[in-house]
Amino acid sequence: MTVLAAIMLTLAGLGGTAVVLTGQPARQALAVSAYGLVLAVLFMVLQAPDVALSQIAVGTAVVPLMVMLAIRKVERG
């Protein structure tokens, strides 16, 4: 279990860095969605399925979708 947690924590660290280093906002929305999935697995490994469910629903679906729509609006007027 500790090994899994260590792997997921490392992936979360790498994922967060990848999101920050992604320049273009539209790509960043996709990166944050993938990163949200990594976090959800981490929460699952740490035995917090309730938080993992919230993370999947909000972090990988709703937030990236709202960011994408906002970017589309800003770019097209």
């Binding site: 500790t2 309730d50 469910l53 709703v62 729509l69 906002a70 609006k73």
Partner: protein
């Protein structure tokens, strides 16, 4: 601010945060240990009210007032976002065009997954007091799942199938129902949000006292709130353009 100044500011802030975090973590019990005083009390309290999902028991029974606060924050943010996203005076609202290119595979998967997603969402809400999940998680799944109709089909299809008025009402009714269950607690058991109905059998659908009721209220509110929020974002992105027009006030 110059790049150098920003970097210095970040290093100062980041360094401070890092130091405080390390100080805070140093005193925590070791990772994965067996000493959990909060767990010991929370689990006992959850079991005494026949709520097998302890997290739901903490959220809706032991700390129900906190959840009412969180729910109000969500309600306020949805209202705030919807207000900001209204068409302004100098914007026009156009009818959305149908069509657009959708891959056959996307359409197939979208129509296949939409009912599945909705059923999962309702299941997560209905069993929130028994298994992991609850009104919030299931509500977001339902509110988002409806939008697979936009991904798989087109915007007019979503507009026709999505009862936006009902969702606007649902948002308010869900939030109000939570407060009403709390007030009923005062009337029946003498304390706000007191668990006042029979707790039922541990692990069964009918168990947990008021927890499933509050879960349902939150489910209605969150599903409606998510749908309204996404609807306003979609309207802005698809239908509203800058330019002179009558623009609703």
């Amino acid at each position: 601010m110059s790049r150098r100044a920003r970097l210095m500011l970040f290093l100062a802030g980041g360094g401070g945060l890092c130091a405080l975090l390390l100080l805070g973590v140093a005193d925590l019990p070791p990772f994965g240990g067996s000493f959990h005083p909060y767990r010991t009390h929370a689990v006992a309290a959850a079991v005494s009210h026949a709520t097998s999902n302890v997290v739901s028991s903490v959220n809706f029974d032991q700390r129900g007032l906190d959840t009412l606060g969180e729910e109000s924050i969500l309600l306020a943010s949805v209202i705030g976002a919807a207000t900001l996203l209204r068409p302004a005076k100098d914007e026009t609202e156009r009818a959305a065009l149908g069509g657009g290119r959708t891959l056959e595979s996307t359409r197939f998967l979208g129509y296949l997954m939409m009912p599945v997603t909705l059923v999962i969402g309702f299941d997560v809400i209905a069993h929130g007091h028994v298994t992991p999940g609850g009104g919030f998680q299931g509500g977001v799944v339902v509110g988002t799942g409806i939008h697979l109709l936009y991904v798989a089909g087109n915007y007019p299809a979503l507009q026709r199938a999505r009862p936006l008025r009902a969702f606007e009402w649902g948002e308010a009714i869900g939030a109000g129902a939570f407060a009403c269950v709390g007030l009923a607690g005062i009337a029946v058991a003498g304390a706000f949000l007191a668990d006042m109905i029979p707790t039922g059998t541990f692990g069964q659908l009918f168990s947990g006292g008021t927890v499933p009721l509050l879960n349902g209220a939150v489910g209605v509110e969150v599903a409606s709130g998510t749908a309204v929020l996404l609807a306003k974002f979609l309207e802005q992105a698809i239908m509203i353009r800058p330019g002179p027009g009558r623009g609703r006030r």
